[in-house]
Symmetry: C2
Subunit: 394 residues, 2 copies
Amino acid sequence: MADVSTTLPLEPDSIRHAYSKIHRYLHKTPLLTNKTIDRMASFSPDTDQSPKFNIYFKCENYQRIGAFKARGAFYAVIHLIEVLGLEEVRRRGVVTHSSGKLALALAASHFQIPAHIVMPTISTPSKIAGTQCYTKNVRFSGSTSTEREAVVMEVIEETGAILVPPYDHPDIMLGQGTTALELQEQYEAETSNQDEKAGLRIVLAPLGGGGLLSGISIFFSNKPEIAVIGCEPSFQGGNDGEIGLNSAPPRRIETVKTLTIADGLRTPVGELPWKIFTSGSEIKKKNLKTIYSVTEEQIKNAMRLVFERMKVFIEPSSAVPLAVVLYNHEFRKWVHQQQQAEGGAGWDIAVVLSGGNTTIDAVIGLFGGPDKDVKRAEGISGLDGKSVVENVAG
Amino acid sequence: MADVSTTLPLEPDSIRHAYSKIHRYLHKTPLLTNKTIDRMASFSPDTDQSPKFNIYFKCENYQRIGAFKARGAFYAVIHLIEVLGLEEVRRRGVVTHSSGKLALALAASHFQIPAHIVMPTISTPSKIAGTQCYTKNVRFSGSTSTEREAVVMEVIEETGAILVPPYDHPDIMLGQGTTALELQEQYEAETSNQDEKAGLRIVLAPLGGGGLLSGISIFFSNKPEIAVIGCEPSFQGGNDGEIGLNSAPPRRIETVKTLTIADGLRTPVGELPWKIFTSGSEIKKKNLKTIYSVTEEQIKNAMRLVFERMKVFIEPSSAVPLAVVLYNHEFRKWVHQQQQAEGGAGWDIAVVLSGGNTTIDAVIGLFGGPDKDVKRAEGISGLDGKSVVENVAG
């Protein structure tokens, strides 16, 4: 990774700069709306919890490699080239063992840079084959984080490859933040002919390691009228960000062992993203309003709506922000009160659908077969059993 | 339905006219591409069956009510208003018992026209509730086609309501044909900066009653360079169009009793669409090249690809044309030979994804749970058992 001293300051203009460097390699993903889901989100039997919403869905599941991660990976690689020169980066290559591996392999392949990807031997054959579509340099390791890091060190010693982390680096955060820039521009274009436009009021995004959420927070840091909200699964302490933020004083929780179905969000918040979210640090607080969490069942309900009503195929992690909008009492109560104070008008809000990398078989594992209750339980434990090692290690 | 004598001639300009009347009520659905699927479609171990494709997917699953049917219904209702006057149509209302019922209810509600929808008492509660979102006038009947038609006659006698059929009417065909117009315009815009553009060579669409396919055939009838191809499920004679077209002489098959998973395609081809597809009639042959069919397993494979690779949620009927592209030997051989004769360059082709009206539970029924083979069988028979009555009756 390029040395942190070479990165741009963590502010909106740096995200604009990152976007100018990467947009030609990426898809401009659609911003979708759905009236049925708006209606459902704007209804509640509790009169103190019936906020009104027009939801704009930023569909990063249609991004290259099926997730927002392509943004950070491209910017990280391009900045690396700027600092070290293309020849040097090609000679050394890049290496990772993280969840951003496909994104890194894609970005590296664009510049003919070797990408060394370390994967546990027990990975499913389809995952291995998928990764091999993007890079020839797949290396296998044991499944614990220590074992994987040992193989990464081997690769670095052998080749001089440069380690690219999945979220805990300013370049990655600036790259992921371009999601917010694009979203904002599309929203403005979409609503340009509306008369009394109140503008976007809330942006909700999933919170795992925090690369995406910190990038979005940075982008909106000079727009105090827009509240950025992080969204987590509450299952087995998957809401480490929420718990940490609400501790007195706030503290980053460093290990998480949850088997939540939102498997992209099982990692603890990274150090650098955490600094963006909290004020007591050298980097001043950006625009994060707060963090809310939802249950497994709420995530599944939201996922079902996105499939059946929007016809959009997403992974469970992507459904977490919509679940907050639909089911989190605190969130709904807060918006309701604000709207009442303002005269009751509905708000335009945005929800980031972060990725779509799942399979029909995994969906069956989540929602079960004809005899649902039995199968749902089997499905979840089966799924978790396989992927826990990869995800806890981050 | 407006009297057939009042409808425009079945030619491309009439579809342009229909589009000018309906486009403001409809979504302009996206035209998507996917490199992975292109690669898969352009590969075959058989050297005489490896055509090369760039596929453009016209996503009518993102159309209002989740299917192309909104197009025909809006045009039918608007033309009815032109002929009879809005007041008269509002006084009498419209009635249907067909698969196009949601589309009709939506279009009618836009003009405050009562829509009487006849549904079998055994319909699932969610289907009934869904229909009631669009109209208050749901009437129940027995489940055979005779029983449903009897209730339709009752409604007509009581209210004077005007019957709107799902496909066997020129207005419906012209309306559905706007899919082709939009597709063609989007394709031209998308490829406008390409140098040596060969243009669109094939358009594949599903064939059930034939409203969509006949509309597309009419739209391309003055473009002999574009081959329109109908796509059917072969299971239990679901390929009635293919069998009928290949009979000597060609004859329309009038009854079909298939339990294919492509449940939108279980109906026989309608009389008027059939005339568009065949030459031996008063309406001269339009641009239909031929009809191909695929197996249940091939449909499921194609559906899986659309979900997992494109992240697009479709119903099984929508996967039939892509299954033809990927798996139908005759089709692939024909394209391969044409391409070899021309020098081997790949072709731009379009595939219509006709709709997305299915559920996670139905997908589980199709693809089964962890113990797949058992559950797949259960799932299919369970699904079919419920819906066969509705679908055979058309």
